[in-house]
């Protein structure tokens, strides 16, 4: 159950296998008799261990896209394939970190993290060892017995991250998870996500509307258009990590992204 120690990120991107295929995805909502096409012909793939940011303005359907990938919504047409199998229901192979606080308020930090494991592992000792391991990975060992209402917003998102990473998902879906945090905490959380990603090498799809966040995190940025939502462009960010906002290369990418956004 220990995480894999050979990070995929060291394998060259070309050599990684594609694990997620999104094909011709279309989502139409029906409201008061009229139809609203939220997603139209969305088409992309993700390679194993890749960090992809889905970037777009609010209302471009990026959260809807993520909900379909998670299995909370079904598409009007098109398919989502994970390892060749179509995705239809929610499951622990595609875990979500929500923007909102979705921890169970009646469970302590460690109980929240153990929640998903309890359904699949019977041996309590194994569960608690795993929980301790992930508590220390997200730096919350001292807060294991606190209730969600007793910890800060940033800590809650750490718990939310730990409770899904402990399930070893193939794809981690993140829906603007740091949007409601203050700038400093957000930066801390981005660094934490990157360091966990290096250690655990899961595939990440990260929805954001923050230019700097996208460039700090992503291997690839998928730029989404609004009404109907479709992927307009793909930007490969081949900067070495850690990426500093002040560096000229970073600024080059952010001006490029702003420019594309205005087009």
């Amino acid at each position: 159950m220990k995480p894999k120690l050979a990070p995929v990120y060291k394998v060259k991107p070309e050599a990684r296998e594609t694990i997620l295929w999104i094909k011709n995805l279309r989502k139409v909502f029906r409201t008061n008799g009229s139809f609203l096409t939220v997603l139209d012909d969305v088409h992309f793939y993700a390679k194993s261990g890749e960090m992809i940011c889905i970037f777009g303005r609010s209302g471009c359907g990026k959260s809807t896209l993520l909900k379909i990938l998670a299995g909370f919504l079904s598409p009007s047409s098109g398919t989502v394939l994970l390892n060749g199998k179509p995705v239809t229901t929610p499951g622990p192979d595609r875990c979500v970190v929500f923007q909102e606080d979705t921890l169970f308020p009646w469970l302590t930090v460690k109980e929240n993290i153990a929640f998903g494991l309890r359904g699949r592992i019977k041996d309590k000792k194994t569960i608690w060892e795993e929980v301790e391991h992930f508590l220390s990975l997200v730096g919350l060992s001292e807060f294991r017995d606190y209730l969600p209402r007793e910890i800060s917003g940033g800590m809650k998102q750490r718990v939310a991250l730990a409770r899904v990473l402990i399930l070893k998902p193939q794809v981690l879906l993140m829906d603007e998870p740091f949007a409601s945090l203050d700038a400093q905490t957000r930066e801390e959380m981005q660094n934490l996500l990157l360091s966990l990603w290096k250690k655990l090498s899961h595939t990440v799809l990260f929805v954001t509307h923050d230019v700097n966040e996208a460039i700090t995190l992503a291997d690839r940025i998928l730029l989404m258009d609004k009404s109907p939502g479709r992927i307009r462009d793909e930007i490969r960010v081949d900067l070495p990590r850690p990426r500093k906002k002040e560096k000229s290369e970073f600024l080059f990418f952010s001006s490029k992204l702003y420019e594309r956004l205005r087009e």
């Binding site: 998670a70 299995g71 909370f72 229901t89 929610p90 499951g91 622990p92 595609r94 875990c95 979500v96 929500f98 909102e100 979705t102 169970f104 308020p105 009646w106 469970l107 929640f115 998903g116 359904g119 699949r120 209730l147 409770r163 899904v164 399930l167």
Partner: protein
């Protein structure tokens, strides 16, 4: 240091707060009785009530009218309240949770529930007596019927207000329906369920007395009726006080045991 002492004084004063109103009430009652403002056949002196209560609870049966009946009466009443309440819980919580989550069930139940809820319990009494005769069955029926509605309605409201995001979070972590019900729905609805149970238990006592007014030989309601026939107003008041005390103790016991048994009851209220 100073602050700490203040705090402890403050805390002990705070702990006494619930007893202020009963104490003031008894003092006022004593004063009114001493002055003779109200004749004793309408409201006996508190000391008389104390004596009657002592006789009723502690003296041997046969020593005096009503002597030593307490254990027998309280036991009979407790059994009736507990059985009726248990029936209401067993039906009310599952049905409430289901109708809170499924719009079709909610729709199916709503007219019936709201119509039945509007019927005062006392109008069921004649019917219950014809169906079940005089005795324990009628009382249990009335108690169960009355306690069902608050338990059902609060469980439904509790299940309904659970954030869909919590259920989605559960689903993505691989939780199936059965585990979801016990690990997410019930704890999430617990504060509401608790309110429903407390309201239901409270109303159970009311309907207990109603059920026992009909000529059953024992029970706290029966004592009050017997005392009325014999003109023993002191015993009526003793009966009222005993029901009040038992109702309060029952509520506390319910609260404590829920908190003891469920994390969610402990941590969310």
């Amino acid at each position: 240091m100073m602050e700490k002492e203040n705090n402890s004084i403050h805390n002990s004063a705070f702990a006494l707060l619930p007893w202020v109103i009963p104490t003031v009430f008894i003092i006022l009652w004593t004063v009114i009785s001493e002055t003779g403002l109200i004749p004793t056949y309408l409201l006996p002196h508190p000391v008389e009530i104390g004596k009657a209560g002592y006789t009723y609870i502690f003296r041997n049966p046969g020593d005096a009218p009503f002597a030593g009946r307490f254990l027998n009466d309280a036991g009979a009443s407790l059994i009736r309240v507990c059985s009726g309440f248990a029936v209401a819980v067993i039906l009310g919580i599952p049905l409430g949770i289901i109708s809170g989550r499924l719009a079709s069930v909610r729709k199916l139940m709503s007219t019936t529930i709201n119509a039945l809820r509007a019927v005062p319990g006392i109008s069921w009494l004649p019917l219950a007596m014809i169906w079940f005769g005089i005795g324990i069955k009628t009382t249990i029926f009335l108690v169960a019927l009355a306690a069902f509605f608050p338990i059902y309605l609060n469980a439904a409201a509790g299940a309904r207000q659970i954030s869909p995001l919590l259920l989605q979070a559960g689903a993505m972590m691989g939780v199936n329906r059965l585990r979801g019900t016990f690990a997410i729905l019930l704890p999430g609805a617990m504060p509401h369920i608790m309110t429903g149970l407390r309201l239901g238990l409270g109303i159970s006592w009311a309907y207990l007395v109603l059920g026992e007014l009909t000529g059953v030989p024992n029970g706290l309601g029966a004592v009050i009726m017997d005392a009325r026939m014999l003109g023993r107003i002191d015993i009526i008041v003793v009966g009222i006080i005993i029901i009040a005390v038992m109702g309060r103790a029952g509520d506390q016991l319910l609260k404590t045991s829920l908190r003891f048994c469920f994390k969610s009851a402990r941590r969310m209220s």
